[in-house]
C-alpha cells in the first residue's frame, strides 16, 4: 500500500499535466450552433422541475435529471 500511493500520485500528476495541454478542438468562434437556444439542455427550469416532480411521485426511481423539488405527492 505504501508504494502504491506515490504511484497513484504520480499518475494523477501526469494526468493533470496532460489535461493542461489539451487544446480546444472546437474553437470559440465555431460554437454559434451550440449557442442557439434550441441546443440548451433545459430552456425552462420551472417546467423541467414540474415534470420531474410528477414523475418522481409516480415512479420508483429518481435522480440524475438536474432538477430539484420537495414534497410528498402521497395522494
Amino acid at each position: 500500500m505504501s508504494c502504491f500511493r506515490p504511484l497513484l500520485l504520480a499518475g494523477a500528476m501526469l494526468l493533470c499535466a496532460g489535461c493542461s495541454s489539451i487544446q480546444p478542438w472546437v474553437k470559440p468562434y465555431e460554437r454559434d450552433r451550440l449557442a442557439d437556444p434550441i441546443m440548451a439542455w433545459d430552456r425552462d427550469a420551472i417546467s423541467a422541475a414540474y415534470l420531474d416532480h410528477i414523475r418522481e411521485t409516480r415512479e420508483g426511481s429518481r435522480g440524475a435529471t438536474g432538477s430539484a423539488g420537495g414534497g410528498c405527492g402521497c395522494n
Binding site: I38, I54, R58, A64, C72, C74
Partner: protein, 393 residues
Amino acid sequence: MMRAPVHRTVGRLAVVTALLLVRATSADVLPDDRADLFYSKYSGGGMDITGESVLVRKKITEDFALEANYFIDKVSGASIDVLSQASQIKDERKQKSGTAEYVHDKTTYTLSFINSVERDYKSDTTSFSLSQDMFGDLTTMTVGFARTNDGVGENNGTALVPIIAWLGHAETRSYDLGLSQILTKNWIAGLNVNVITDEGFLANPYRSIRYFDPSNPKGYSLGSQVYPDTRTSTAIQGQAKYYLPYRAAVTGSYRYFTDTWGIRANTLELDYTHPISNIWILEGRLRYYKQNSATFYSDIFPYADYQNFEARDQDLAASENITIGGKATYAFLPNGWKMFKRSTVTLDISRISFHYLDFRNIKYYGVPQYLPGDEPLYQFNATVYQLYMSMFF
C-alpha cells in the same frame, strides 16, 4: 409587418448568446434576468392537480444573481388506492425556493433553499453546487450536494376538518456529479450521476398492503405498510444533443436506476426541437419508462405479517409508462416593453399512459368474476398541461 422586427430581435438574441459563449472562454457568465408566470394542470388516475408558479431571476452584479420561486399545487380527488380506503382529498402544497449564484472566473457557485409545506408533509432542502468550465470550455463539470429534512404526517380527519398525526421524520442526502462535453461544433453530450441516501420514516401512510383473509367477505383484508428505514439509490444518465444539418436539434437520453430496495429502472427519451421563422420553437418528445418491483412489494400477501417489510404502494410495483408530448413556444413583444427586452409564451401538453404489471385494480372487489389477486391490472392515462410566459430583461 410584425415579422421583420421579430426576426431581428431573435437574430440579435442568437448573436448575443453566441458572443456570451465566446466570452465564456475568458470568464463564465450568468444567464439573462427573467420573470416567469406558470400554470399547470394534471388530470389522471382520479386526480386533478393544478399548479401556479412565479419565478424571478435578477443579476445584482455581473457576477452575482438571485432567484426566487413560489409554487402552489392544489390537489382534488384521490388515487386508486386512496379511494379503496378513504374519502376524497382536497389538499394543497406550497413551495418556496431561493437561489444565489456567484461566478468567479470559470467557476459558478450555487446555493439553494427549498421549503415545501402541505397539511401533512413538510420538507426543507438545502443544496450547494459548484460548476467548473475546463479544457478551453469544452467541458463543464458540476458537483452538488443536497440535504432534505422531511416531516411525515397523516390526516386522520376529513378534507374540511383535518386531524394530523405526525408519524416521523426522514432525512435525505443527495450527491450529484455532472459532466457536459462539447464533442463537435454540432454535438454536445452529458453524463449525470446521482446517489441518494434516505433514512427515517419512508413509507406512504395513505397506502395499505392487502393479504388473503378467508374470514373477510371480500377474501382479503388491508394492513399497514412496513418499509425499511433506509434506502440508497444510484441513477446514471447519459444524454446527447445534435444540431441537424438544418436548424433543428435532436436529443436522446438514457437513464439507469438501481436501489437497495431492489428496484431497477430504465428510461429512454427522445426529443426533437424545430424553430419556425425565429418566432416559434416547436418541440416533440417521446419517453419510455420501465421498472421492476421492490423486493418487499406484493399486490397481495399470503397472510398477515407474512414478512418483516411489506408494501403495496403502486410506485414500488413493476410498471411501465409511455409519454408523448409536444411544446410550442411563441416569441412576442419583438421591440420589448418597458424593462423587458423580449418575451415568450409556451404551451406544453403531455399524455402519459401508465401500465402496472403487478398492481391490481381493487375497485373491482365484490365483482363475482374477480377473485382476490385476479382483478384486472391497473392502468390509467394522465394529461399534463403547462402554460407559461417568460419575460427576459
